[in-house]
């Protein structure tokens, strides 16, 4: 069983901390529930904002997937902020997981190659899925304004292709498929182009992030003005950021060893 950690005199004991929390939690629960009881039945109404957008988005933005219209047009500025949250997190991850002086890179040729712990069937399936996954990612990204999807979803799917490569082959192969400089540049280029499209809106149409391209016909691939472009920018950034996240964590696990011989 777990033992309670050592406490210095005056500090809350583990038990006291739990009791303190439970008192607070009862109060917080009462607070939240009494507030939520003021909301209408969740089945009844669509909030005004949503109703209005549902009513006008297809016409105003030639976008049949209204969530995408909200994400990349009506509330595109939120998405800009969110993009940069991911951007900042990925930046830090590289910094945090960078090799410290005490660490050394394991030599690639010493890495386990094909230890055949995974069956041939699994490996074959994974490798066979890589192509379709990438294709699906592109499809999801580029059709975000027509059907559910968009840059985030597509970007994450694209990054999972890398994971499939790892599962289906080995780490060394995955590394070769992942030129880090290119990935980082792609991530930055995606984030940067989102801003640049916004600035173009300011210059051409007079407002930052204004949709300044012809809107076309709803339901066609080339429609909705800047929305597909912004979606693509986000897709590239998200794919880059997630490839970075996945590979930095895998690096930690597999390659970087500590000097004191702790191993991976």
């Amino acid at each position: 069983m777990e033992t309670a950690p050592a406490r210095r005199p005056g500090e809350l004991s583990f038990e006291a901390r739990r009791r303190l929390f439970l008192v607070g939690a009862v109060g917080l629960a009462a607070l939240l529930l009494s507030g939520l009881s003021g909301l209408p039945d969740y089945r009844d109404v669509t909030p005004l904002y949503g109703q209005v957008i549902n009513g006008v988005a297809v016409e105003e933005r030639s976008t049949t997937a209204v969530v995408t219209a909200v994400n990349f047009d009506y509330r595109g500025f939120d998405t800009l902020g969110e993009e940069f949250i991911l951007f900042a997190a990925a930046l830090v991850l590289v910094l945090l997981l960078r090799r410290l002086g005490e660490e050394r890179r394991g030599r690639l040729d010493r890495l386990p190659r094909h230890r055949h712990t995974t069956s041939a069937a699994v490996r074959l399936t994974c490798v066979a899925l890589v192509g379709p996954t990438v294709l699906l990612a592109i499809y999801i990204t580029m059709h975000g304004h027509l059907t559910p999807g968009g840059g985030f979803q597509g970007g994450v799917i694209a990054a999972t292709a890398l994971l499939l490569v790892y599962l289906g082959s080995d780490y060394a192969t995955m590394r070769r498929l992942r030129p880090m400089a290119l990935v980082e540049t792609a991530k930055a280029a995606g984030a940067g182009s989102f801003v640049l499209i916004g600035v173009a809106g300011l210059i051409v149409a007079g407002s930052f992030l204004e949709n300044f391209l012809p809107l076309g016909t709803p339901g066609e691939l080339v429609s909705a003005g800047t929305i597909p472009l912004l979606s693509l920018a986000v897709g590239i950034e998200v794919a880059g950021a997630f490839v970075l996240l996945l590979s930095e964590f895998l690096d930690q696990l597999l390659v970087i060893r500590r000097k004191r011989g702790g191993g991976a």
């Binding site: 210095r8 929390f21 669509t46 904002y49 016409e59 991911l86 500590r258």
Partner: protein
């Protein structure tokens, strides 16, 4: 039953907080924090839900079909990305802490005790 999703959101939030408070392993703490954050997804989506409505995608249905709120879905998407970024960042910090201090028990970390 009209209140159920709201109550579920409150439950998820509090149970996650309990986990953060009592956790004895940093990775567990971080996952509990994600649990707390996910309560807001349930809440937001419940606020925008409407019975007998479709998803707000009007590609093959008439434009006046009642649809659920698209705004909360967009907000939730943003929220999910925020949560994911925070989790990734925290996990990276946890990896570093383990390297430096050889422990992941939050109660055993004490460079900051006053």
């Amino acid at each position: 039953m009209s209140f159920l999703p709201y109550a579920v959101a409150v439950w998820i939030c509090l149970v996650g907080l309990y986990g953060v408070v009592t956790s004895r392993h940093l990775v567990h703490t971080i996952i509990c924090l994600s649990v707390v954050q996910s309560s807001t997804y349930v809440l937001l989506l419940a606020v925008g839900y409407r019975k007998d409505s479709v998803a707000p995608v009007f590609i093959d249905i008439p434009r006046d079909t009642p649809a659920v709120d698209p705004v909360v879905q967009a907000l939730t998407l943003t929220d999910v990305v925020v949560g994911g970024a925070v989790t990734a960042l925290l996990l990276a910090i946890a990896v570093q802490i383990e390297k430096h201090l050889d422990t992941l028990d939050p109660d055993e970390l004490d460079p900051l005790r006053d």
